[in-house]
Amino acid sequence: MTTITTTTAGHGFWHIAYLGFCALVFAFLIAPILVIVPLSFNAEPYFTFTEGMLRLDADAWSLRWYRQIVEDEEWSRALANSLFIGVSATVLATALGTLAALGLSNPAMPARRFATGLLISPMVTPVIISAAGMFFFYSNLGLAQTHLGLILAHAALGTPFVVITVTATLAGYDQNLSRAAASMGAGPLTVFRRVQLPLIAPGVVSGGIFAFAASFDEVVVVLFMGGIEQRTIPRQMWSGIREEISPAILAVAVFLIVFAVLFLLTVEWLRRRNAR
């Protein structure tokens, strides 16, 4: 790292300006998320810091919004819906996506590029188009306003994450291990279950987390296809932001930030495990 500092002293100003600029960009990235946390403890129904909060007046801070969301049945039902739809979609997406990644990683796979393109397409298609198309199609099948319809839709939108992550992990998998196991008499299923799966498990779990996070944050399909019974957390937040703005949303947001950090740390931990 000494090479960086050996650049002549004349560049000192520009280097500091560069670091300052980067610091501003990092602040832009992270500050909006951090500012939510203290505001969620606001005792008043405002979206900004009250004078009392700035004086660190104990009365100006409270847990009332947290109490409100815990006691509110709508939010707990939304959480249950989010978890049920998210977990079911994740299981489906992970199973199908892992299988497909195994096939796509095989050099013998015919039309690999085309198949990959199709399988990744749900991720890059604008969600408004997916949601509109699904609304028409699922309505005709009687799947609109059902949990099953949302599970299928979210699974479809989540599979690209699994395919990408598991394919990336398989690129680092030594196929000789499978061959060695097969040469010692293990059938294809045993090879997969006892040798390959344990080794690529970090990638599979990461893909699953990505798929879950995608479903857990999805609002447009739910907006188009879900009824009252299928309201999820993001759907509930959507109406919160649009209709009756209350700091209760900020309390939910803090929960979601905690979730995000947990997902992030898990995926990074798995990635590092996989790299070793």
Partner: protein
């Protein structure tokens, strides 16, 4: 494909083969693994998209409700008024449609071709019950003057097409004039091209801004010592993982009239209490929030390309007499181009179909083409037009996606 003989060679009893057979063992096995997901995505995702595209050009409602009228209208030369036979057929079919309760759907569609015809149809159907015999043309013109106008019949004929490019024309602010050639809509009815244009400009602007502020940051992370790099990377990944709705809420909290930023500026005396800045529910809000959401998609591909560039190269260039600018521009920048391309394309693809953020913080001036699709899906219920707008957007995205595949390769897409 040369790997196949090599792999096969290791198996007992199978010698080297002349070439891959179409569905030999390994090919079949690989394909069978991919097939379940392909079928699943086909049914749950691709079929809905195809269905939507069909809807954008195919609408049988009017044709099914008024078959005889449309059949007889085909003999009409489009000048003056059609024969009594056409009036008679329409009278019968409008009454039947009223009985089946399909008249509302028919009227809505005809009305979209020429506004005002909804009431003509519904009123005619209501009053015709009291008319027992012809001449039907006099009776209908008596009920509603529209039946005495040539344009009405042209509109009816156009609405009766099962397959039509009308919705695509509409979505591009075009229409057919009475002579059948394609022309722009009157100026005051042009909205879609403007919104498409705005969407393109905003996407370009957001992409450029992301590149300008993302590039230095990615470079800093890529060449920092590992521990610090990890920490800085977390700062990029936390927003990447945080719920979109949470981030949008954050920007509302920060930017709104009584929000944190305005409060701070007033407190510092930069602006007066009555001079609070309107930073949200307009284009500024859309732009800022979109940049925030999409920035990680720029930084991450840049970072992964940059971290593979040996730091010694620029030092070497400088030790050979290059100025820092020269060593950056001639040595460093060209090597980061794959990352620049990947990041820009990804951000642009995501920006062009952006919906949630503009809907929540865009107000009326910050709406993009996606919001218009949602409007036609949920409010105006003009689903064919929504489907056509979706089709146009889909073509744009598909083109960019293919470009991404050619330049970067889809299989090289990474997450986080």
């Amino acid at each position: 494909m040369s790997e196949i003989p090599e792999k096969e060679a290791g198996r007992p009893g199978s010698g080297p083969r002349p070439g891959p057979r179409p569905w030999s063992g390994p090919r079949l096995r690989a394909a069978l693994l991919v097939l379940p997901l392909l079928a699943f995505v086909g049914v749950t995702f691709l079929a809905p998209l195809a269905n939507m595209l069909v809807r954008s050009v195919y609408d049988p409602v009017v044709a099914d409700a008024l078959p005889e009228t449309l059949e007889r209208l085909r003999a009409w030369d489009g000048q003056g008024l059609p024969d009594e036979a056409v009036y008679e057929a329409l009278a019968g079919e409008v009454l039947a449609a009223r009985e089946d309760r399909t008249l509302g759907q028919v009227a809505t569609r005809v009305n979209r071709v020429q506004s005002g015809l909804r009431s003509a149809l519904t009123r005619t159907a209501r009053r015709l019950r009291n008319v027992d015999e012809g001449p039907w043309s006099d009776a209908m013109i008596g009920i509603h003057a529209a039946w005495g106008e040539t344009g009405t019949w042209r509109a009816l004929r156009e609405a009766g097409d099962r397959y039509t490019a009308r919705h695509y024309l509409n979505a591009l602010d075009l229409q057919r004039d009475p002579e059948g050639s394609i022309a722009f809509q009157p100026e005051d009815r042009q909205i879609y091209l403007f919104l498409l244009w705005r969407t393109l400009l905003v996407s370009l602007g957001v992409t450029t801004l992301c590149l300008l502020i993302g590039y230095p940051v990615a470079r800093l992370i890529a060449h920092a010592p590992p521990r610090r790099a990890n920490l800085l990377l977390i700062l990029v990944l936390v927003p990447f993982w945080t719920s979109l709705l949470v981030r949008t809420t954050s920007w509302i909290v920060l930017l709104q009239n009584q929000g944190v930023l305005n409060d701070m500026l007033v407190y510092l005396g930069v602006i007066g209490d009555d001079g609070r800045l309107a930073m949200i529910y307009n284009m500024t809000g859309t732009f800022v929030a979109m940049t925030h959401v999409l920035l990680p998609f720029m930084v991450l591909p840049l970072y992964s390309v940059m971290s593979a560039i040996p730091r010694v190269q620029t030092s070497a260039a400088e030790s050979l007499g290059a100025t820092p600018w020269q060593s950056f521009w001639r040595v460093y920048w060209p090597q980061t181009l794959p990352g620049v391309g990947a990041g820009c394309l990804l951000v642009f693809i995501l920006a062009i179909g952006y919906y949630i953020t503009p809907a929540l913080v865009g107000g009326s001036t910050g709406q993009l083409i996606s919001n218009l699709i949602a409007f036609h899906m949920q409010s105006s219920l003009n689903w064919s037009l929504a489907a056509a707008l979706g089709g146009i957007l889909l073509v744009c995205v598909a083109g960019l996606y293919l470009l991404y595949d050619r330049l970067v390769g889809i299989e090289r897409m990474r997450l986080g």
